[in-house]
Assembly symmetry: C2
Homo-oligomer: 202 residues x 2
């Protein structure tokens, strides 16, 4: 375990392609012998920092239509059905705060996957505390403790620092995978390539 | 031959990812038993028609840097080195006019590949007539005949009609692959999936 190479998995809770990766990364990483560090961040803040950087879905009606189709095909290949959630993109700030508060906790991956499933398999709104609570419970942790930690003022500063780090590392979208030697891979369809790089290097 | 399913390969001469596909599509299509219809078009006209649709490379400095890195990695996997051409993106109007004039000619694939290699492997400027001439010669056709055909007024109308068709089919980027049943696949990294769909259907 200790000697496994580490791959950083930067993800945004409102992102469909982040969902696709979250629901398959653990099995692939295990096979590749790579440890995953889950790093929730706020992609909207990156878009804002980059001025004219915009969410891919907002660029044109043709692109938005295609991306939903592509996500649907990818999920079907992975054995599940994606549903359009209530409102898209959703407000993922509360989700990111909870996740950031629990960054070092063992429940972060399970919580993240539960929340992605709630949003993109069941069409729930992850801005609602009831949805966050259910995901925390599903991940085996005490929701009231985690939600209180998320309200801690320190979490806001930590999220901001992560966003700035993501920007300085060269990110502009999610998911992004970053190897220990600083190689970036953007998008769910680069996950296999990122794992191979993490394991074997260039 | 006659019964092979057909996959439309829509490409833009100034597009790096179109180059990656052009240089590998024939071998993959042969293996899949799929016939490729080469369809050059003007992506810039699509971006213009879609108002806020912008070239991916222009969205943010981080994204531009990443895309070059990603293209470089992809080309290396295919066994060649991509070079940044003189100016990017280049003016591909003349190239598209020549290609459109030769749409029904047997030399279109060879010409297109030669032009992509000139631009992205040798760093040449495809707006120059000398570069077009060399690519036509490499493709085994008479450059003066092809260049004269490209200046025919009819070509402009045909290019415009193709752009409008591309837009109405749902396109927003290049390369795009379209199956006979109307399924769209965007990007060099969807080529294998597009060929499988063309061959097997959904």
């Amino acid at each position: 375990m200790a000697n496994r190479p580490v791959l950083d998995f930067w993800y945004e809770f409102a992102s469909t392609y982040s969902c696709l990766s979250a629901l398959r990364i653990e099995e692939l990483a295990d096979k590749a012998g790579v440890a995953i560090r889950w790093r929730p961040f706020l992609l909207g803040a990156i878009f804002a920092a980059q001025g004219n950087g915009k969410a891919p879905f907002s660029l044109s009606a043709n692109k938005a239509r295609y991306l939903w189709r592509d996500v649907t095909r990818s999920a079907a290949r992975d054995g599940y059905a994606i549903v359009m959630p209530e409102g898209f993109p959703q407000n993922a700030l509360s989700a990111a705060r909870v996740a950031m508060a629990g960054r070092e906790a063992g429940w972060l991956p399970a919580f993240s996957k539960a929340l992605f499933r709630a949003q993109f398999c069941e069409g729930r709104n992850i801005a609602e505390e009831a949805v966050l609570t259910a995901a925390l419970r599903e991940a085996g942790t005490d929701p009231s403790v985690a939600l209180a930690a998320a309200r801690n003022g320190d979490v806001k500063a930590r999220l901001k620092a992560e966003t700035e780090l993501a920007n300085s590392l060269g990110m502009f979208g999610a998911p992004t995978f970053v190897t220990e030697d600083g190689e970036l891979f953007w998008g769910n369809d680069r996950l296999e390539e990122a794992l191979a790089w993490a394991r074997d290097g260039r």
